[in-house]
Structure formats: structure tokens, C-alpha cells
């Protein structure tokens, strides 16, 4: 009986729900397609216009996504990859698996960003988030943080994209002094976690005064929980940007539909779902504007390395980080 059930279950998964409708497969990270991410709203809105079946395939987080694309190569079922960030796009472009999108949108990004292969769909500033009720005077720079005796939790740059973001942040802001900054930060770091959710969980449990997250994190607590106690510390040297992008795979068997999806990605229907599900800034500000919490912490200065620069910086910066923290 069990075997029959199993077979029936497998069949329903294997057979496309509506065989005659074209299927657009979008490979993305887990939290995009979960019930609490933008996935469900985006799927509904796009399917209303495309006469197609939009399917999200979850593939772990941003870094796992790129490994998945490389693993599948040209044999991939996917048509669009959504959720890489600019520290990964150089490696992604080098695979030769992506095709140009041919669009030149006006975006609300705080820096100039254009890439023939990748289109931004949202972005955010990395920041250290803290609890205003426990910490009254937040440091105003990474250096001040390193000089303080505040305790922080960060993500590991070898397994998580925010961790890698911090690595590039320190390098972009301090250049040759990055090693020195890390050495000074070493005694502030309570621990390094494998991913963002573990770090944020430890912070909420009270294990650290600050956590590496985004300037938009306090907006989640404000809008979803009615809690205004969280804040993001604004640093004088500027904040490194995470720009999340999508690209079309050259081997797609639905290139027209993929183009249609990428164009749809920059419309209100997609963009308005982003802020309060992905808790990032939409690439193009929706007509209705952003909810109140999103303008609370806007750094004056944005830092970003070009994809090629980020790719070239990663290995030496990682070695520097390991050396400074292993002492």
C-alpha cells in the first residue's frame, strides 16, 4: 500500500499540472519561494499575465544557487536564475551560461549599476543591528566598533553572502588597513555563524549586542511586530551594498517567456511584493512608495566593488580575515 501511495505521489510531482501550458522554471533561494517570501505573490501576478505556469525551484541560499547553476550546466531545467548578488556575478558570468537581457531600466539603486547579463531586483545596505533599549550609544564607524567592548555576531564569509559582504565592506572602506581592522575587531566577535538566520537568532537571544544584518532589519520588527526597539548603526565610512540580481540562462527552452519574466520583474506587481516579504529595498520604487520603517536608517554613503574587483578581492581578503581572527 505504501509503495502505491509513493508511486502516486511521485506521479503527481512528475506530471506537469497543465501539460499544454508552457512552464517557466525559476531557480531561486529558499526564502524567496517560501510562504513568507515574495514567491507566492509574484507567481500569482505573473501567471495572471503570461498564460504560463511559473515554477520556483528552491536551491538553498545565494551561494548555493551559483553552485547549482554550475552543477547543472547547460542541461539545466531552469530558464531564469534569481537571487545571485554582485559578489557572485563575476563568477556567474564566467560560466558562460547566462544570456544578455537587453534591458536598460532606471533603478532606485544608490549607485550606478548596469550589467548586460544581470538585472537587479532588490538591494540593501549591510549594517550592524542593535537593540536601542540595551545599547544607547551605538558606534559610528567600524573602527569605533572595533575599539569598543561591544560584542557582535557575524556570518562566516566562507558559507554565507552577508559574511562575504562584510569582508568586502571592510576592504572597500579600509583598503590595506583591512587586516588591522579585523585584528582590532577580533575581541568583539562572540562567534561566527554559518548563515544569516543563525546569527540573527543568537542576537535576538541576547548573545551579542549587535549583529551583521541589513539597515532594513529594524523595519521588519516595526512593521510586522510593532516593535520599534531595533535600530541599525550608521557608519561614517559608508555601508557596503548587496544588490540581488536575476539572469536568463542561455540554454533556456523558453527564452521569450524568460525575457517576459525579467521585464515583469521590474514592474510594480513584482517590485511592490519585495519590501515587506524580502525586507530589502525594491530595485524600482513602487508607485505607492515604501512603508514608513524603510526610511529610518539610510546611510549617506554607499560602498560597492565592481563584480570583477569583488571576485579578485575575495581570496586575499579571506586569507587576511582568517589570519587576523585565528590568533
Amino acid at each position: 500500500m505504501n509503495a502505491k501511495l509513493l508511486a502516486a505521489g511521485l506521479l503527481t510531482i512528475a506530471t506537469p499540472a497543465l501539460a499544454e501550458m508552457p512552464v517557466l522554471t525559476v531557480l531561486t533561494y529558499d526564502s524567496f519561494t517560501s510562504d513568507w517570501g515574495p514567491g507566492p505573490a509574484v507567481e500569482k501576478a505573473f501567471e495572471a499575465t503570461c498564460a504560463c505556469d511559473l515554477r520556483f525551484v528552491p536551491a538553498g541560499d545565494g551561494a548555493a544557487l551559483l553552485a547549482r547553476v554550475q552543477l547543472e550546466g547547460a542541461a539545466s531545467e531552469a530558464d531564469v536564475v534569481l537571487g545571485l548578488d554582485t559578489s557572485l556575478t563575476a563568477a556567474a558570468a564566467a560560466t558562460g551560461l547566462f544570456a544578455p537581457h537587453g534591458l536598460t531600466p532606471e533603478t532606485a539603486l544608490p549607485v550606478d549599476y548596469a550589467d548586460p547579463l544581470f538585472l537587479p531586483f532588490d538591494w540593501g545596505w549591510f549594517a550592524f543591528v542593535y537593540d536601542k533599549t540595551k545599547l544607547t550609544e551605538a558606534p559610528t564607524s567600524l573602527e569605533a566598533l572595533a575599539a569598543s567592548d561591544l560584542k557582535i555576531v557575524i556570518e562566516d564569509p566562507r558559507s554565507s553572502t552577508p559574511g562575504l559582504g562584510l569582508l568586502l565592506w571592510v576592504k572597500a572602506a579600509y583598503g590595506d588597513r583591512a587586516g588591522e581592522i579585523w585584528a582590532a575587531l577580533a575581541d568583539n566577535i562572540v562567534t561566527v555563524t554559518p548563515g544569516w538566520s543563525e546569527a540573527y537568532g543568537l542576537f535576538l537571544e541576547g548573545e551579542a549586542d549587535m549583529v551583521l544584518s541589513y539597515t532594513t532589519s529594524p523595519a521588519y520588527h516595526l512593521l510586522a511586530e510593532g516593535d520599534d526597539s531595533k535600530a541599525a548603526a550608521l557608519f561614517d565610512e559608508g555601508h557596503y551594498l548587496q544588490i540581488e540580481v536575476a539572469g536568463k540562462l542561455a540554454a533556456s527552452d523558453q527564452p521569450a517567456l524568460a525575457d517576459q519574466f525579467l521585464a515583469f520583474m521590474l514592474t510594480d506587481a513584482f517590485q511592490s511584493a519585495i519590501p515587506e516579504t524580502n525586507w530589502m529595498y525594491p530595485a524600482i520604487t513602487p508607485a505607492a512608495g515604501l512603508a514608513k520603517g524603510f526610511d529610518a536608517f539610510r546611510p549617506a554613503k554607499s560602498l560597492l566593488m565592481s563584480p570583477a574587483e569583488a571576485e579578485a578581492t575575495r581570496d586575499p581578503a579571506l586569507a587576511e580575515w582568517q589570519e587576523a581572527l585565528a590568533k
Binding site: L10, S31, V57, L71, S159, E198, Y200, G201
Partner: protein, 512 residues
């Protein structure tokens, strides 16, 4: 002698499991270029081995007094405590870490207490924190496995010891030590290998890049560098270390050879005096050490239960179904392997029942993906692959749990049963199942509970709309919903524990 050779089906299955470990490794290596490992990789290997050795030694040594105290004392709540011993082991790593931090963390119970007394705080992050967490997770497993050993000493031997006027020291030398020689190497081996591949616990509590394990290096190699050759090289080193440890354990095992008893419940002598006090302290400290973090997990999860997302229920259903199928398969296989190995130790069975533990989850998943992809969309095979992987990963526990008693059974009744031509189903029904009910129930419980939790390996096969409970927990935590994630994790732990309890209690009742 019909059964001296390995039955063909067992050989075939053992071969299949060895292939399940090696084929994905080779598939990954085949896609890479060269297996070169750098100095950082060797540092990761050294750290992994160090922390795993320490964790195994501490978990195993500390479990001996606990198991002995539980074996020879009777007190209210003893059964409950023995059952609870199954709980820490099946906590998802992140949940266990948060539970431990509620007690030992910077703002945990212990440091709050120390602060109130004006004492300096204790720091949990570092190698000692990693070992502490691994002892928390594995001490109960070790205790249960050693306790089985104590309970397997025939009552007749204990009575003989009493009538010969043996004191506790002589009982230890002539009865308990031989039993430990039989059981401990297997226990230490399993724990060593679990800790060798431990990932989230080590990074989170390790406190920084000093605590880099092989598994993290593999993560980096696959995900950021896409250097599959290096990933396969690292995974290969991990498997070799596991194989070496298995050989060492194999060489150390010395069957106790107590001979048959009539299978009566053995009233172990319970010495009075300071030993009674020591046992009470051991039990009390263990109970506190295990239950406080579990209580923290419970308290963290409760508030979120009221508005739990709807998707938790179907995900829980899927997880339980997968766990039951996996447990049934694993139990049949584990019993087959243990009985075959009890007749004659066989390296193929030994390898099939050990190596899956030492493989890297990420490399196993990636390799299976590479193997499957040319033939079918991996998503369509999510369920069978999950069951197969769960089976491979929980088989080693079941095998270690069954082996000592299967060996004793063979030594005591094997020849009698053979001479009566008691083979096949009747032998299973009238000899094996009744005699092995207790370890079978415990092992099946462990297998079922483990199959509820595993996630990493099959992440590549996950499709839309078929999330299992661990994935839902991860998705909730990734979407800021920490409270809901804690509640879903509590449900996961409760279900795993319930499955474990049903099998374990069933086995114990059948044995009584």
C-alpha cells in the same frame, strides 16, 4: 554449516551501501580537476579530528558512570529519564545550540547566576564549547548503548558473582570490564564519526576561523569556489579517517563471551555507602545537564505555537511518512547486517555500516545529483532519494546498537539453533526477535527520529511545494520569523521524540 558464508542478498546490499558512499564521491571528483589540498585544508582536517576525538572520549567516558548508575539503581522517574536520553541526540544542530546557549551562553542561566554571585562569566565559545555541545548531544546515546550492555549481562553471571562473594571491584573486573571491552569501541567510533562531520555546532560554538572543520572547507569549495576536485579530496580524507577509526575500533573489540542465560531481568547488585551517594550525584547532574537545555527549547517554542503557519502541518506529515518508511527499511537492513556480522565478521558489512556516517552530506548530495541528473529531473526523485539517504545515514547507529547483542545471541544459541535446523522465518520469530527486541526497538527509534531531521543532503533535490518540516523551520528562521521557527522546531523535536519513544518503549515492553 549453511550460514558460515555471507548470504548473497546481504553481500549485495552491503555492496550497494558501499557504492552509495563511494559513487557520489567519484562523481564529484570526476567533475573536478585534481584533488589538491592546501595548508588551510590540512588545518581543517587537524581541527576536525581533534575536536571529534575529544568529544568521543569525553562522551564515552562520562557515559560509563551514568549507565552504571542507571543499571543498578531503581528510582522514581528512572524509565522516563532513560527515554529522555533519546531526546538530545535527535535535536537539529541549531536548536540544540540555542538550547545550550540558554544555559551556558553569555546571557544564559549559568552566567546570570555567576553574575549575581559577583563571579566572572564563563565563556562557552571555543573548542571547549564545541566539545560541551557534542557531549550534550552524544552522552545520552552513549549511555543508552552502554546501558544495553549492562542489561545484556546474564542474570546468572551476576548471581554467581554474588554467591562467590564478589565485591564491586571484582564484579567490575570479571563482568563489567569484559562487557565494556565489547561495547565501548563501537560507541566511541560512532560518536567520533558523528562529530567528525558535525558542521553547524562547530562553527557556531567554535567562535571563529580557528574552528574550521572539513565540512566547512567542503562547503566553501563547492559553493564559493566551485572546486569540486577539492571538495571530493576533502570528503575522501574524511571517509578515510572514518575507515581508519572503524578499523581501530574493530581491532579493539573483544566479545565478552558471558555465555547464555535464561533471559531473566538481572537484579544488579546495588552497593550501599558512598557508591550509592555517588550514583545519586551522577544521576542528578546528568539529569540537570540534559533537561535544562531541553526545557529551554520547550520554553522558546511554546509562545509561537498559537499562530503557527498552516504549511507546518503538511510538512510534518511528509516528514513523519518519510521517517516511518526509512526506519522500517533501516531496521530490516540493520538486523540483516548485524546478524550476518555476528556469524562472521566481515569487512564489507563493516564498511557498509560505518562509511555512510563519515561521508560529507554536501558531497553525497552533490554526487547523487550528478549521477541522477542525466536520467531524470532530480526533483522527481526527491522522495526515494531522501529515504535511501536517511537509510544509509541511520544504518550505522542501528548496526552498532544491535551488533554486541547479535554477537552474544550467535555465541549462545547459534549452534543450538543450527543443530535444530531452526533457520529462516521461524528462527527470526522464535529466537532472534524476542532476544533482540530491546535493542531493535531502541535502534528503530533512533533511525526514525534521525530520518525526521536530515535536510542537508537532499537540499539539491527539493522541489516546490514539498517541503519537509526541517526545511520549513529553516525558511521561517530565514524570514525573521524566529518565534514561529522555534515553535516549528519544537514540533519537529516533539514528533521525532514521539517516534523514538513509540519504538523504544515497544522494544522494551516486548523484551520484558
Amino acid at each position: 554449516m549453511t550460514c558460515a558464508r555471507l548470504p548473497p542478498l546481504t553481500s549485495l546490499l552491503a555492496l550497494l551501501f558501499v557504492a552509495l558512499v563511494t559513487a557520489p564521491l567519484l562523481a564529484v571528483a570526476g567533475r573536478g580537476s585534481g584533488l589538491s589540498l592546501g595548508p588551510a585544508d590540512w588545518a581543517a582536517v587537524r581541527f576536525s579530528v581533534t575536536q571529534a576525538l575529544l568529544s568521543a572520549i569525553f562522551s564515552t567516558l562520562l557515559a560509563i558512570p551514568v549507565a552504571r548508575a542507571l543499571a543498578r539503581r531503581r528510582f522514581a522517574g528512572r524509565g522516563l529519564l532513560i527515554t529522555l536520553m533519546g531526546a538530545p541526540f535527535l535535536l537539529p544542530a541549531v536548536v540544540a545550540v540555542l538550547g545550550l546557549l540558554a544555559i551556558f551562553g553569555r546571557s544564559g542561566l549559568l552566567n546570570t547566576g555567576l553574575q549575581a554571585l559577583g563571579l566572572p562569566p564563563l565563556q562557552i565559545y571555543g573548542l571547549h564549547g564545541v566539545v560541551l555541545a557534542h557531549v550534550f548531544l552524544n552522552l545520552p546515546l552513549a549511555t543508552r548503548m552502554i546501558l544495553q550492555g549492562w542489561q545484556a549481562i546474564p542474570a546468572e553471571r551476576m548471581r554467581l558473582a554474588q554467591s562467590l562473594g564478589f565485591g564491586p571491584r571484582e564484579v567490575f573486573r570479571h563482568l563489567e570490564w569484559p562487557m565494556l571491552r565489547d561495547v565501548l569501541p563501537g560507541v566511541a567510533l560512532v560518536i567520533l564519526i558523528i562529530c567528525l562531520t558535525s558542521f553547524a555546532v562547530v562553527i557556531t560554538l567554535g567562535g571563529g576561523p580557528k574552528a574550521t572543520t572539513i565540512e566547512l572547507a567542503i562547503y566553501q569549495a563547492v559553493r564559493f569556489d566551485f572546486d569540486l576536485g577539492r571538495a571530493a579530496g576533502l570528503a575522501g580524507v574524511q571517509v578515510l579517517i572514518g575507515a581508519f577509526a572503524a578499523l581501530a575500533a574493530w581491532a579493539l573489540v573483544k566479545p565478552a563471551g558471558f555465555g547464555a542465560g535464561l533471559g531473566r531481568e538481572s537484579p544488579l547488585p546495588a552497593p550501599a555507602g558512598w557508591r550509592s551517594l555517588a550514583d545519586a550525584v551522577v544521576i542528578a547532574v546528568t539529569m540537570l545537564f540534559l533537561t535544562l537545555p531541553l526545557l529551554a527549547v520547550l520554553l522558546r517554542g511554546l509562545p509561537g505555537l498559537v499562530d503557527l503557519p498552516e504549511s507546518v502541518l503538511p510538512a510534518a506529515g511528509r516528514s513523519v511518512a518519510v521517517a516511518l518508511v526509512s526506519a522500517a527499511l533501516t531496521t530490516c537492513l540493520g538486523l540483516g547486517f548485524a546478524l550476518a556480522a555476528a556469524r562472521r565478521s566481515n569487512w564489507l558489512v563493516e564498511a557498509a555500516a560505518t562509511l555512510p556516517l563519515a561521508t560529507s552530506g554536501l558531497v553525497l548530495g552533490t554526487g547523487l545529483f550528478l549521477i541522477v541528473q542525466p536520467f531524470a529531473p532530480p526533483m522527481t526523485l526527491a522522495l526515494p532519494v531522501t529515504v535511501l539517504v536517511n537509510c544509509a545515514l541511520s544504518l550505522p547507529y542501528l548496526y552498532r546498537i544491535l551488533l554486541p547483542e547479535a554477537r552474544a545471541l550467535q555465541a549462545d544459541y547459534g549452534r543450538l539453533a543450527d543443530s535444530l535446523s531452526l533457520t529462516g522465518w521461524p528462527r527470526l520469530r522464535w529466537l532472534v526477535l524476542p532476544r533482540l527486541a530491546r535493542p531493535l526497538g531502541f535502534g528503530a527509534g533512533v533511525a526514525a527520529a534521525l530520518s525526521m531531521g536530515d535536510l542537508g543532503v537532499i537540499a539539491l533535490f527539493a522541489g516546490d511545494h514539498q517541503a519537509t518540516l526541517p526545511l520549513v523551520v529553516q525558511q521561517l528562521a530565514g524570514a525573521y520569523r524566529i518565534e514561529a521557527a522555534a515553535a516549528a522546531a519544537l514540533i519537529l523535536v516533539t514528533l521525532s521524540f514521539a517516534l523514538f519513544w513509540v519504538f523504544d518503549a515497544g522494544g522494551r515492553r516486548a523484551a520484558a
